[in-house]
Symmetry: C2
Subunit: 285 residues, 2 copies
């Protein structure tokens, strides 16, 4: 029975657990198998060719585990691999870019209904070098609406800051200022967090953006939007699992490496204990 | 003829080019094949088991290319893999930890000949989480001298800062202060740069350490010391190549990924143009 199978979610590391958390809130009945490619994280600074190869390996492992749908909970992998995986795999594939772009367009439309701007405001995207270089957000936004321009800024230091757990204080504040300042100057009035690591820096990013722009700047986190897209897919595809009397649908956590500090890092992203973790080898794919 | 073969040097990424530069200065007649595992950089945040596996793959490729000796130009890989590779390979293997520890002990001895300290000064090591967790520097120092205590600080943000090219300004200054302050409080009076990325931050680290300690703090960079160890090995092992009339012994640069900004990053580490670069695949090992 396809319906009883798990949703497969993968990311370069543990950032995608923010998406799992959102899925579990919207679809508490759905079991999830999560694969974090912690032995090769980060993807965001690698070439598109390498990210494609790594993404294919992750997807194959989840397919072998019998998942009923695939969620690419990594912006860099979504940016370069979603089309390829859709073409190659015989199951539904959801990335984080399109839902994030949809949410940004929605917020932008609300903003324009409420306020008048002298010059047209833009959508600002913070992302990894790989995501920004791919042009995936401007492309996704232009497919949804021709009204909005997108400006994007690569922010390679934010992933290591989050992994190090430096979420407040002067170092992350100055780094965020440096990345956000240019977007504000280019009239970004909505910010998209184009990397699953960044939601942990959301309070700081909001604060810095508001200070720089002199007005509140809505910050869109793709995790919620992606979870809504997954719910829609499950419902429309008749993939929903029958409610089980047992409490909790369960999360299976697979990783390719278990470095020191793993549990603490995982807890930070999932917002709770992670349970059983299995280490898998996908380098031979 | 073994002598005419190249020296094989590998690193997780491009930081090891600082070691290549030092080798080329001391041994201008020796050709070098450098392998940077840029598709899986950084090693410093991964488990020892994964670093061992990756190091073995790098070494095997260089052995297949016929190198006459192997230099592990990566602190994390040296910390966990040098013994294993020595046992497994039929050629001399030099790591960066032992030469770095020797240089630190030497500087410490000079310091104690010149000055009196109320309490015994210590050797401070800045390194990746992997290098610090391995305890390799305290072990190497204790094998050289029982006089000196070692205090080590993991500094995971320094690698991304160097890769991003943020070598001066407030963000790297505050990050360095945060990492160095504890070492100074623990009476470190010599600092070892226990990662091949850090020499690019050496001016800043020196300045911050002096400010915090209220006195100049010698900063030891393992690249020079490693190059001297390689020269000794080449001379003692009768591995020296006969001087060639052609100018320049040559550097062959192999990488596992070619991300955007690669050339600029490579130039930063090598201090000059990098010439021909070949992309190789070692993930199937």
């Amino acid at each position: 029975m396809t319906q009883s199978r798990a949703l497969g979610v993968f990311d370069s590391g543990l950032g995608g657990l923010t998406v799992v958390r959102a899925i579990q809130e919207l679809l508490p009945n759905e079991p999830v198998i999560y694969l974090g490619d912690t032995a090769r994280v980060p993807y965001g600074t690698r070439s598109a060719e390498t990210v494609l190869r790594y993404s294919r390996g992750c997807a194959q492992l989840l397919v072998e585990r019998g998942v009923k749908a695939l969620v690419i909970a990594c912006n860099t992998a979504s940016a370069v691999a979603v089309e390829m995986l859709r073409a190659e795999l015989d199951l539904p594939v959801v990335g984080v870019i399109r839902p994030g772009a949809e949410a940004a367009v929605e917020v932008m439309e609300q903003l324009l209904r409420k306020e008048r701007f002298e010059q047209p405001p833009r959508i600002g995207v913070l992302g990894t070098p790989g995501t920004v270089a791919s042009g995936a957000y401007p492309r996704a936004v232009s497919q949804l609406s021709t009204r909005f321009e997108v400006v994007a800024q690569a922010a390679p230091l934010l992933v290591p800051l989050v992994e190090e757990g430096w979420l407040e204080g002067e170092v992350p504040r100055l780094a965020v200022e440096r990345y956000v300042a240019g977007l504000m100057e280019q009239r970004a009035r909505v910010l998209v967090l184009g990397c699953t690591h960044y939601p942990l820096l959301k309070p700081l990013i909001s604060e810095v953006a508001e200070k720089l722009a002199g007005r509140p700047i809505p910050v869109v986190d793709g995790a919620q939007a992606t979870a809504r897209a997954v719910r829609q897919l499950v419902e429309e595809g008749k993939l929903a699992r029958a409610p089980s009397p047992a409490s909790g649908a369960g999360l299976e956590l697979l990783v390719t490496d278990l470095p020191a500090g793993f549990s603490e890092s995982a807890r930070r992203f999932l917002g709770g204990s992670v349970g059983h973790v299995e280490q898998v080898d996908i380098t031979l794919r």
